[in-house]
């Protein structure tokens, strides 16, 4: 019989982090939609949602209610099981990845040392890559099960695209793992306490660039949003989805964006490390040292979130800016440009590590 203390411990170590994480993800998944609509609108000199709440602030709530109460249609000729399973796989894989993300160093809250992660996996990065790979199934299953040619085309495009871009992405991640000497995300952040990996010349910026492009493609976002290219494929793999299942796809897309952005921040921008202005070169000169001290005083988790939202904004920015690629160009970019560069980067990084230049 477990005593009260154990139960309380269990709640505190597992229960609270999971609940906090879940609410964080859900709130983000809802409000990032609003953010996207607002950002796009303002970039196009529009206002975006304005009616529900102050500047459309209640719009996500209204959307959520609408998703839930709309009729959930399953096409008659669809494969019912696969059709229902697909969005769940997509969602679970997106949720699962958050488990391994550290949101900050150990912090003391109410006199207790709290880890800001749910699970500190030794193979954190690999775990996230694995789940991202499984997420592809959700897309291709949805495309196939809908029994609709547009959906199928979307599913195919997406699967091919995700498999292709996973490779340069994985190589960029391996480069980071090589630089940090670990696959553990916390250790990767700690390895950047002196120097963020993005400024480790020459491999850091290249790996970052590779990761960023592959990340956009992995999440099927513009300019790589061919799987759901509305002008050709209606809505791609989720054309036939409606109601809550459609909502799940919609939310999972934002969750995937968050995962990619969080990983980018953790692997290249020092995670929760604060921004410092030339700490070695100018760190001792008064106005700059004051600013540095002030920046360092901001809580680490806020830094991570700031980097996260920076990347998400960046995503929306390129969506508003760049036109969509053609499909063969998409494949050419992955296999003929990114893949050789990523292999070269890995080799150079290994050489630098071995020679002690890093």
């Amino acid at each position: 019989m477990p005593d009260m203390q154990q139960i309380i411990n269990f709640i505190i170590t597992i229960g609270i982090p999971v609940v906090v994480l879940l609410s964080f993800i859900l709130a983000n998944a809802m409000y990032l939609q609003l953010m996207e609509r607002k950002v796009l609108a303002h970039m196009q000199s529009r206002l975006g949602p304005m009616r529900t709440g102050w500047h459309g602030l209640l719009q996500p709530v209204a959307d959520a209610v609408k998703f839930m109460f709309k009729e959930d249609i399953i096409p008659a000729k669809a494969d019912k099981w696969v059709f229902s399973l697909a969005p769940l796989i997509f969602l679970v894989m997106a949720f699962g990845a958050f488990v391994a993300i550290p949101f900050g160093p150990d912090t003391v809250i109410f006199g207790r040392t709290v880890h800001l992660w749910v699970s500190n996996l030794n193979i954190g990065v690999l775990y996230i890559v694995a789940l991202a790979g499984i997420g592809t199934y959700g897309v291709i299953m949805a495309g196939w099960a809908s029994n609709n040619k547009y959906s199928l085309m979307g599913g195919f495009r997406s699967a091919a695209q995700m498999i292709s871009y996973e490779i340069p992405m994985a190589f960029a991640i391996v480069t980071v793992a090589l630089m940090a000497g670990s696959l553990n995300l916390t250790e990767i952040v700690q390895a950047q306490s002196q120097k963020w990996f993005i400024i480790v010349f020459p491999v850091g910026p290249v790996a970052f660039f590779l990761y960023l492009i592959a990340g956009v493609a992995e999440t099927n976002r513009a300019p790589f949003d061919l799987p759901e290219a509305e002008s050709e494929l209606v809505a791609g793999y989720f054309t036939e989805y409606s109601g809550i299942r459609f909502g799940i796809f919609y939310m999972a897309e934002y969750m995937n964006m968050m995962i990619v952005s969080l990983l980018a921040s953790i692997m290249f921008l020092g995670g929760w490390m604060p921004v410092q202005i030339f700490p070695k070169l100018l760190g001792g000169i008064p106005p700059i040292s004051w600013i540095n001290t002030a920046l360092a005083a901001i809580p680490p988790t806020l830094w991570l979130l700031a980097k996260l939202y920076f990347f998400i904004f960046f995503y929306m920015w390129i969506r508003a800016t760049l036109p969509r690629y053609r499909y063969d160009q998409l494949m050419t970019i992955a296999w003929k440009i990114l893949l050789p560069i990523s292999l070269g980067t890995l080799l150079v990084a290994a050489f630098m590590k071995q020679a002690g230049w890093m």
């Binding site: 494969d79 099981w81 696969v82 399973l85 996996l121 030794n122 193979i123 690999l126 775990y127 890559v129 694995a130 789940l131 991202a132 790979g133 499984i134 592809t136 199934y137 291709i140 299953m141 196939w144 199928l152 599913g155 195919f156 699967a159 091919a160 498999i163 996973e166 994985a170 000497g181 696959l183």
Partner: protein, 168 residues
Amino acid sequence: MINQLIFAYFAAVIVVSAVLVITRKNPVHSVMFMLLLFFHIAGVFVLLNAEFLAAVQLIVYAGAILILFLFVVILLSVERESQAARANRFWPWLAGFGLIIAGEIALLVLRGSFPGEGKMAVQVAGAGVRDLGVVLYSKFLVPFEISSVILLVGLIGAVMLAKKKTNE
């Protein structure tokens, strides 16, 4: 005890889904059960403290190989595949024969003992990706490098057999 229960669960699901893979009429469903199978194999690896292998199992098998399977299978006509015979008319005999052999193997294993239990070819603490790497590049360097040649041969073979005939 709890470990054995979890293992029993994984093993049972692995066997059941393996059977479902070969008996489903719809090839896409077969692939789905295969995915389930891979997940549970990864689970067994986690149970053995081989987290790295679990992740690699998912990345390589589920994330890459099976996706390509699915890619091809989806192109098949489900109706035609569903009507095609899964096995010839001797299958009950063959299945019975297989069951007898499986029973014999089970019997022999149950009666036997495993004195080497707990001994490992490689002693690695925890998930030990680093130790795994060191072992792969020192003691098992030769097998490790052979496997890269094997992959190359697979690549050459696939390209050789599948590429379009050109007049050159």
